[in-house]
Symmetry: C2
Subunit: 337 residues, 2 copies
C-alpha cells in the first residue's frame, strides 16, 4: 500500500501546527484565522488528505464501528435485520461488522472476543443463549448491547423481539378457524425462548378451543432428523390436516419431505410457517405465513444501540421492545397450473 499523507504533512505544507489542523478537522474553527483556515483547506485538498480513523480511534477510544452477531445471514430474518442496521449506521456514519454465529456457542464467543479486540463501540446480538457468562461480562464491562429476536432471562439487556406467543396463538387460531383439529407443530429445539413462546401460543389456542394438545403431533428437535420423524407424524391413525413450521428453516426441511410423499397442499395438508417466504404470494400452493417486521426490528435495535453509545439512554435496563406478528393469508395464486 502506498504511503498516505498524515496530519503532519498537512500541517507542514500549511505551515501551521498539527493541533491547528486537528482543530480544523473537528469543526472547531470558530476563532480560526481566515487565512490559516484557507491554507489548511488548500493543503488538505492538494494532498488529498483523509484522516486515519484507526489513529483517531486509538486516541478517542471510539471506533464508530459496531458488532452484529446474527444466527445466519442466509436466513431472511437475519438478512433484513442486517440491512436495517446497516442503513441506520450509514446514516450516522457508523459501520457494522456482521458475524454469523450459526447457533454455535463457540463461534459466538470467538466473535465476541474478536469484536472486543477491535474495540467496537457496541453490540447487537441474536444470542445463541448458550453463553450467559459472556453476556454478563459484556454488561459488566459496560458495553452498549442490544439483544434481538431472543431474550436471555434475568439479564437486564434491552431486547427487540416479536410477540412470539401471540404469533403462535394466531397461527393455531387461524387453522382452527378453518376447522382443522389435528394441527402438527414442527420446530427446532424448544430451548430458545422464541421457539418456546411460539409453541406456548399454539398450546394456548388449542386449549382455549377445548382441543387436546397431542404430543404425537409435536416435534421440537434437530430438524435434520425430520426425514425420520415427520413421516411418523404424518402416518398416525388420525393424521394432522394442518402443519405449522416454527420458522423458515423448518419449512425448508419440511417441503422436500412432503414433496417426496406426494402430499398435496392445501388439500391433504394445510401449511403455515413463521417468517417471510419470498414470492409466496405468487405461488401455489398457498402457504400462509406469519411474518416478523424484520426490517423495523433491525431499525429499532440499531437506534437503541446508537442512543446508548451516545449516552442518550442508559444501558442497564431490561426493556423489551415487542413487535406485532403479521399474519398473511394468501389468496390462491392467480398463476396457476
Amino acid at each position: 500500500m502506498i504511503k498516505k499523507p498524515t496530519l503532519h504533512d498537512v500541517a507542514s505544507l500549511a505551515s501551521v501546527s498539527q493541533s491547528t489542523v486537528s482543530q480544523y478537522l473537528n469543526g472547531r474553527y470558530k476563532h480560526m484565522g481566515k487565512e490559516t483556515r484557507r491554507r489548511i483547506e488548500h493543503s488538505i485538498n492538494t494532498l488529498q488528505y483523509k484522516p486515519n480513523a484507526v489513529a483517531r480511534g486509538l486516541k478517542q477510544k471510539k471506533t464508530t464501528t459496531i458488532g452484529i452477531i446474527v444466527a445466519n445471514i442466509l436466513h431472511r430474518f437475519s438478512t433484513q435485520v442486517s440491512r436495517a442496521i446497516e442503513d441506520i449506521c450509514h446514516q450516522f456514519e457508523y459501520h457494522a461488522i456482521i458475524c454469523n454465529a450459526d447457533d454455535d456457542a463457540k463461534k459466538e464467543k470467538k466473535y465476541i472476543d474478536m469484536l472486543k479486540a477491535k474495540q467496537v463501540d457496541g453490540f447487537i446480538i441474536i444470542p445463541t443463549g448458550l453463553n450467559e457468562d459472556l453476556y454478563k461480562d459484556l454488561l459488566e464491562e459496560r458495553y452498549p448491547l442490544i439483544f434481538l429476536d431472543r431474550k436471555v432471562e434475568a439479564l437486564p439487556i434491552p431486547t427487540v423481539s416479536l410477540k412470539n406467543k401471540k404469533a403462535g396463538y394466531e397461527a393455531a387460531t387461524h387453522l382452527l378457524d378453518q376447522n382443522h383439529r389435528n394441527i402438527a407443530y414442527i420446530s427446532s429445539p424448544l430451548t430458545v425462548n422464541t421457539r418456546k413462546e411460539r409453541y406456548q401460543g399454539y398450546v394456548q389456542a388449542l386449549e382455549n378451543a377445548g382441543i387436546e394438545v397431542k404430543e404425537e403431533y409435536v416435534f421440537g428437535g434437530d430438524i435434520n432428523q425430520l426425514n425420520h420423524t415427520l413421516p411418523d407424524i404424518l402416518e398416525k391413525n388420525h393424521p394432522p390436516t394442518a402443519l405449522i413450521c416454527g420458522n423458515d428453516r423448518v419449512l425448508k426441511n419440511v417441503l422436500p419431505i412432503l414433496k417426496k410423499r406426494d402430499i398435496s397442499i392445501p388439500q391433504h395438508l394445510a401449511l403455515l410457517t413463521f417468517d417471510e417466504v419470498e414470492f409466496s404470494e405468487f405461488f401455489t400452493p398457498t402457504i400462509t405465513t406469519i411474518e416478523q417486521p424484520a426490517y423495523e426490528m433491525g431499525v429499532q435495535a440499531a437506534e437503541l444501540l446508537l442512543q446508548r453509545i451516545n449516552g442518550k439512554a442508559e444501558q442497564q435496563r431490561e426493556e423489551t421492545y415487542e413487535f406485532e406478528p403479521k399474519l398473511k393469508v394468501r389468496e390462491s395464486s392467480l398463476l396457476k397450473k
Copy 2:
C-alpha cells in the same frame, strides 16, 4: 465502558517490560526464560488481558479487516456472497465490513472513503461501474482489490464473475428447445456488462436459430417502469410466449404484473429467470432458473483477496475467474392445487 488492562498492566504485574510481553504475544518466545514466560502467562490470565487490535493496527498498518461493497444485501446473490466471504474471513481471523451501495455512485464513493479511513486491508466490490476514477485511485494506492459479478473494462482488476453470455445463451436456447419463438427479455438497464452479456447471449441464441430479435420484445431499463411497458409487450399482435427475467429483482417486479393480468404460467407464458429463487422447486408455477454459484464465487473472491493481502499473489493483473451458470429446470411441483 470500563477500563481494560493494557500491555503495561500485564508487564508490571509480571515484573517484566512491555516489550517482553509483546514478544510473548507474538509467539517469539523461543529463547524466553521459562519462568518469565510463566509469569507473563499468569499475569495475562489473572488480568484477562486481550490485546487491543486498534493500537496494533495503528502500529502495523494492518487491521485484518476488509471492506465489502455489495449491491444490496437483500438480494440473494449478495447474501450468499457475503456469507461466503465472511466464512473465509473467519477462517483466517479477518473481519468483513459489509456495505450496500444500492447501485448508487454516491453511496459507493462514500463507503469506499469511509473504509479507506478505517484502513481496511483490501476490498471486494460489486462495482456500480459509475466510479471509474475511484477504482483507479484504489489501484494506484495499491489496495488489494477484487471485483465481483461485474467487470470494469480496461482496469487491471481481478474479477470473479459468471459466464454471463453463456447464461443468456442457455436461457434462450432452453426456451427455443421448447418451441418458443417469441421470447421477451426484461432487464434492468443494459449499461452494466453483466446484463449486457446475458442479453448478448440471448441474441446469439436467437440468431443461431435463425430467429429475428424483435426489439419490441426487449426491455432494458428502469424496472419500476415495468407497470407501463410490460403490458405493452404482452399485448403485441404476436405476444411473447416466453419471458426471461434478467435477475431476481426483475422477477420480483414482473410477477405482480402477471398476476394482476391473470396470466397463467406456463400455459400463457413460460417464465425463466436468472438467479436463484428460494423454494422454487416446490411451487407451482414452475419457474426455470439459471443460477449462479454465488457461494463459490464469494469464496473465490475472498481467497483471491487474502492472497493478495498476504503478498502471495500480485495485484495488478487483469484476471477473470468465470463460473458456469447452472440451469435448473423444475419438474412440475408435486404440491399442486
